[in-house]
Subunit: 363 residues, 2 copies
């Protein structure tokens, strides 16, 4: 299921960042914060993770205008013990909080070998992969995770109690760019179920439960009707999501459960994050780490394929290829998404995004 099926409009990455920065500044963000948010939103779009890209802009601006999101907030370090730190997000942009916290973890891991920074009172931080990639581009293994508004039950339950709590792990490579895993604990994201509901198509009974806690193939019952996303691996995904709650909100002193607020609702999001940076060089020569990683990755990629598969991909390989391609051809935005950005430009009195001359290659 591609979100970019149908007519699209291409924006060059630079122009997408220019527009995002201008729009956020006009809505009241500081210039530095606006640039940081623009970087991560456009990075998500470049990697084909459109749900965490410019599509979020109308929502972000609305939150700022309501006073639920402080675009001028600078994250504050509350506790700093060298290889551990606690950051207060001060209800600013999640991207700003996450960027600050991961950079702090990276700095400390660079000198000490490992560091953990947790953050509370943050907002939507977009794609977790942005922050782990940052660490990996600086030669460090990065781990990032966040709690989210509840969408899943614990095993045996029929109430939304746990977020899909995404986790990302990225590993540095001497060449070829980082290997990046970014996954949520639900079998699928809620938007895939909403899309099926819009199209009137049934869903596999492994995706969601109805409001009574029974597997369902009805996409409406599965989500809008009060249903529940199923975690991966049943009790395993539940257990992982629970532990993410502990490593984020419980550790950082942030909000959890219903206090994070419902997905896409009108209230303030109040999320907590966890970041770990780890230096492979602390355990031995980085050249040898890289040789082993190259060998392991090669073993995986050279696996013989099953009947329906052309080739085996490493985690994040598709996204990395798409980024290279879209840096050349521009990022394709669905026409209705693009129209929303133009409308937002009028509202905020900024120049609308200038469409790229190059033809987009599709989603």
């Amino acid at each position: 299921v591609s979100q970019t099926a149908g007519p699209t409009v291409a924006l060059a990455a630079d122009e997408a960042r220019r527009w995002t920065t201008d729009a956020l500044v006009s809505a009241g963000a500081s210039a530095a914060n606006a640039r940081t948010v623009a970087h991560y939103l456009v990075l998500a779009d470049l990697r084909g993770v459109e749900t965490h890209g410019l599509v979020r802009m109308p929502l972000y601006v609305a939150r700022m205008q309501r006073g639920d999101l402080d675009g001028t907030a600078d994250p504050e370090v509350l506790t700093d013990r060298g290889v551990t730190a606690l950051v207060d997000g001060c209800h600013g942009f999640g991207q700003v909080v996450a960027d600050r916290a991961m950079r702090l973890a990276m700095e400390r891991a660079g000198s000490s070998g490992v560091a953990v920074v947790v953050a509370r009172r943050s907002s939507h931080f977009g794609a977790a992969a942005g922050y782990t990639q940052l660490a990996a581009e600086h030669g460090l293994i990065g781990i990032a995770t966040t709690n989210t508004a509840p969408v899943m039950p614990p095993t045996g339950g029929r109430e939304r109690r746990l977020g899909n709590n995404p986790i990302s792990i990225a590993v540095p490579r001497a060449s070829g760019g980082p290997i990046v895993l970014d996954m949520a604990m639900s079998v699928v994201a809620a938007w895939r179920i909403r899309l099926a509901a819009d199209r009137g198509e049934p869903i596999p009974d492994t995706w969601a439960l109805d409001a009574e806690g029974r597997p369902t193939t009805d996409p409406y019952e599965a989500f809008q009707g009060g249903g529940l996303l199923q975690p991966i691996g049943a009790h395993k995904g539940y257990g992982l999501a629970f532990m993410v709650d502990v490593l984020t909100a419980v550790l950082a002193g942030g909000a959890f459960g219903a206090d994070v607020k419902l997905l896409h609702d009108e209230g303030r999001l109040n999320t907590s994050h966890f970041f770990l940076a780890l230096d492979p060089g602390a355990f031995g020569p980085t050249e040898e780490f890289d040789e082993r990683l190259t060998e392991r990755a090669s073993q995986i990629r050279n696996t013989q394929t099953s009947p329906d598969t052309d080739r085996v991909l490493l985690p994040g390989e598709r996204e990395a290829s798409l980024k290279v391609e879209r840096e050349q051809t521009g990022i394709p935005y669905r026409r209705d998404i693009f129209d929303g950005l133009v409308e937002l430009s009028t509202q905020l009195s900024v120049d609308p995004p200038a469409v790229s001359a190059a033809e987009p290659s599709g989603g």
Copy 2:
């Protein structure tokens, strides 16, 4: 599926440890190492994780007798940078290596807030939960993971390339004992498929693939016939298992892929592990951490249940209850497993396990 269905024999935990220690010493292990292995094997049996308990003893002894496993080996710290360290397992018992590495991580996290210790040239380390619980019993969050012999393909592949690479996370509580997650990345363990094959029963098509990489309901094709275990969440479980390989063997300079050796084969196992200890007190008062954890756990446990469920359990809650029960009533061993221990006693000239007077309560 209970492994203890059918007639059982009860052993008191103390007697199970006494026997295990004696048997391992007689087979050539040092007394200290034998006691450590006995502790973790019996802990697994107490918690109902019988696959990682005394059932392993004949295999461990055979490996020692062949010279593939050095029962006298003391793990050696090769690199120590304060909050990171690399341990050489010297082909000793995995339990000894893991216990040493986690205790080192705990010591350093206790003073600095966080520490990571990786180990290579280890063997089967049993249940990962043993080591994370150890950390949690000392007030620290513990994370442990290991690579294992390949049993799963990467997504789209039809060759065994990845272990089921279990991960455990344990969280300390002021009362009620640690909350402990321990899960492998495969939908089910291989023994459940072998059991179905023994019984001639079909398996769900979500458990395994045949040797061509197609989902199968035939338990023989699914494993002994060259099949492949399916990872949880498709590409998600694959990605997690890959990242565990990186955090263990690639980071520690250990063996990976086929070099770890096939499951239950006759060769030397050569595994690598990763341990992290994290002090909640580094981020704020531990009393407040504990209050938040209690509240979060309570929210989860009080979730309304789906039609087939009596109550919602926290990760590891069933295992913790079983441990309390079995410390009173003894550990029930299947008659054929017990007979194997008696046979091993004769071979090693040690007193066979003395059966407990108390009636076991079943599996």
